[in-house]
């Protein structure tokens, strides 16, 4: 530290006369995107996402079954691990403000908290979509290289429709992680809750469905982690879309509404 005794510029003008426009949304989005890479931890998480995708695609391209190797297979295979890690980026964007207490500065600069949370949601959405596109590119690379080294014809069988559904799958998973984060507002419990949702809820749900007939009938409408997996299947029927919509309301919209009501009012300390 230098013992700088420089004086600040005096306040430039009467503040009342100052023309300060509202902070536009694109600036908030810019800042939130920046926050996803500007610490070692957040950069490592994104690198982990990329590394996970590369590892899965690489392993399947090299050691996977020859008759399965193709763009759709690789893209579909990498989708599940991405569902586990990508939502963490969006969740930590919210919880980090509380865990690291940056909320004190963030919400002093932008008192309309809903706009900040909106920017975080948009940033999470962009990360999810970008990761999905990245996984397609990796899968294409894996298909090309894997086929060439094994001397087989590359199979380019990923339809635009299937690609869109895989992207939607990642977006829904990200929305769940984000909604949990808005409700819980603490990093570790949020990640645990999300992993429970992804890893424990499906077997628990199918067990319950086996025991209780009543639950078996409603399970597809409420068990989002199982229901959303149809998005990675070959096709989605009309009723499945409806189930997906209802389950998303339960796991995303409901916690978001309850969490936001609290987040907008809670004292930031």
């Amino acid at each position: 530290m230098t013992a700088a005794g420089t004086t600040p510029a005096p306040p430039t003008s009467a503040a009342a006369a100052r023309s300060s426009a509202r902070v536009p949304f694109h600036r908030l989005l810019d800042v939130e995107l920046r926050k996803t890479v500007d610490t070692r931890a957040s950069a490592a998480l994104l690198a982990g996402v990329a590394g996970t995708a590369a590892l899965v695609v690489g392993a399947l391209a090299v050691w996977g079954r020859e008759d399965e190797l193709g763009l759709a297979y690789l893209a579909g295979s990498v989708a599940y691990p991405l569902q586990l890690v990508v939502p963490m980026v969006a969740a930590l964007a919210v919880t980090g403000e509380w865990t690291q207490r940056g909320a004190l500065t963030t919400f002093a600069l932008v008192p309309r908290r809903g706009r900040v949370v909106g920017a975080k949601a948009a940033a999470g959405l962009l990360v999810a979509v970008a990761t999905s596109l990245f996984s397609f590119a990796l899968s294409a690379l894996g298909t090309a290289v894997g086929s060439a080294t094994r001397g087989i014809d590359p199979v380019w069988d990923l339809s635009l429709d299937a690609a869109a559904r895989l992207t939607l799958l990642l977006v829904v998973a990200t929305a769940v992680g984000f909604a949990f984060a808005v409700v819980i507002r603490a990093s570790a419990p949020t990640l645990v809750a999300y992993l429970l949702f992804m890893l424990i809820l499906p077997p628990l749900s199918s067990m319950l469905a086996a025991v209780f007939d009543g639950y078996a009938a409603v399970a597809p409408w409420v068990d989002l982690s199982t229901t959303m997996s149809v998005l990675s299947g070959p096709s989605v029927a009309g009723e499945q879309w409806a189930q997906l919509g209802v389950a998303t309301l339960v796991w995303v919209a409901l916690p978001l509404v309850l969490g936001m009501r609290r987040l907008l009012r809670v004292e930031i300390r």
């Binding site: 600040p8 005096p10 306040p11 902070v23 600036r27 940056g102 919400f107 002093a108 008192p111």
Partner: protein
């Protein structure tokens, strides 16, 4: 200008802030003094919209803080220097605020220089900063938008004596330029050094407020006249001590009646004449002792280590 009117904040049955009213004027440094847990931070959080008052109202520059379109350009806020992401570099912390406010990138270097953080220091991660460096970084964030008002909670914590003097000079020149400064402290000495006006709070209530000159003079009487200088001169001519308070009044050791007669004889109409508040230091000690006793009621008064 910051105006706080009848502000009350309850948490269940606990009243953290109890009917607090005061004004922080432009051109002056207002020190918000009180023991730990007196309600200072809660009040300041309410001023900048991070907490909702139960009743009452706080305005900054005539508006509720949350209604300011881009508050960082009008109000610099530092509530807790340790509440900064440890994984970011000091510079990155400022860049985030600079981008939010829509300021040119060069502004980051300007405020870094202003608070005396060197470039190598700015490249280090905040978790490796001392508390003093975090305070400087927090002040840099607050000054980024070239605001007219500063709200600082315990900004001198962790600063060495040279740092406190630096802070005083910085806030002095800020106020001299017409800015409003509201800063809190739990140390009387710090407030004495930095503030022009003092608001003392204990158990959520304002127990004393006024200019530092008045509160610290130990005077018994406060007299106000349109021409305070003439009043002071008349009192001194009559053999009394007289200290201008800086806000148009004079604190004097003359009794109420004596002060009134002096003013009458000098032909100066008094606009205010009252007993001055008790000694700030005594009141502050009483407040602090009160909170300490609460924690040590069982302790005998004799036999305790001095």
């Amino acid at each position: 200008m910051i105006q706080i009117a009848a502000l009350t904040k309850r948490y269940g049955d606990f009243i953290a802030v109890d009917d607090v009213s005061f004004t922080a004027e432009p051109g002056r440094v207002t020190g918000f003094l009180g023991p730990n847990g007196a309600g200072k931070s809660t009040t300041l959080r309410t001023v900048v919209g991070l907490a909702e008052p139960t009743t009452g109202r706080a305005t900054v520059l005539g508006r509720r803080y949350a209604d300011l379109p881009n508050p960082g350009l009008e109000v610099g806020v530092l509530l807790d220097a340790s509440a900064q992401h440890g994984g970011r570099t000091g510079r990155e912390t400022l860049v985030l605020a600079q981008r939010t406010l829509g300021l040119p990138r060069t502004r980051v270097d300007e405020v870094l220089e202003l608070v005396g953080l060197t470039r190598p220091e700015a490249r280090r991660r905040v978790r490796d900063y001392s508390l003093g460096m975090r305070q400087r970084l927090g002040i840099a964030t607050a000054l980024l938008g070239d605001p007219a008002v500063l709200v600082l909670d315990e900004p001198a914590n962790g600063l060495d004596p040279a740092g406190i003097r630096w802070m005083r000079d910085l806030l002095r020149s800020f106020a001299d330029g017409g800015g409003t400064v509201l800063l809190s402290s739990h140390l009387l000495a710090e407030i004495e050094m930095i503030a022009d006006d003092i608001v003392m709070i204990g158990n959520g209530r304002v127990v004393a407020s006024g200019s530092k000159a008045t509160l610290l003079s130990g005077a018994t009487t406060l007299a106000r006249a349109d021409d305070a200088d003439a009043l002071g001169a008349a009192l001194r001519a009559a053999g009394h001590d007289a200290t201008p308070t800086g806000d148009g009044a004079v604190a004097t050791d003359a009794g109420l009646a004596a002060a009134g007669r002096v003013a009458f004889a000098a032909g100066l109409p008094l606009t205010e004449l009252r007993a001055a508040d008790g000694s700030l230091e005594e009141m502050f000690l009483a407040l602090t002792a009160g909170t300490q006793r609460d924690g040590a009621t069982a302790q005998p008064t004799t036999g305790a280590a001095a």
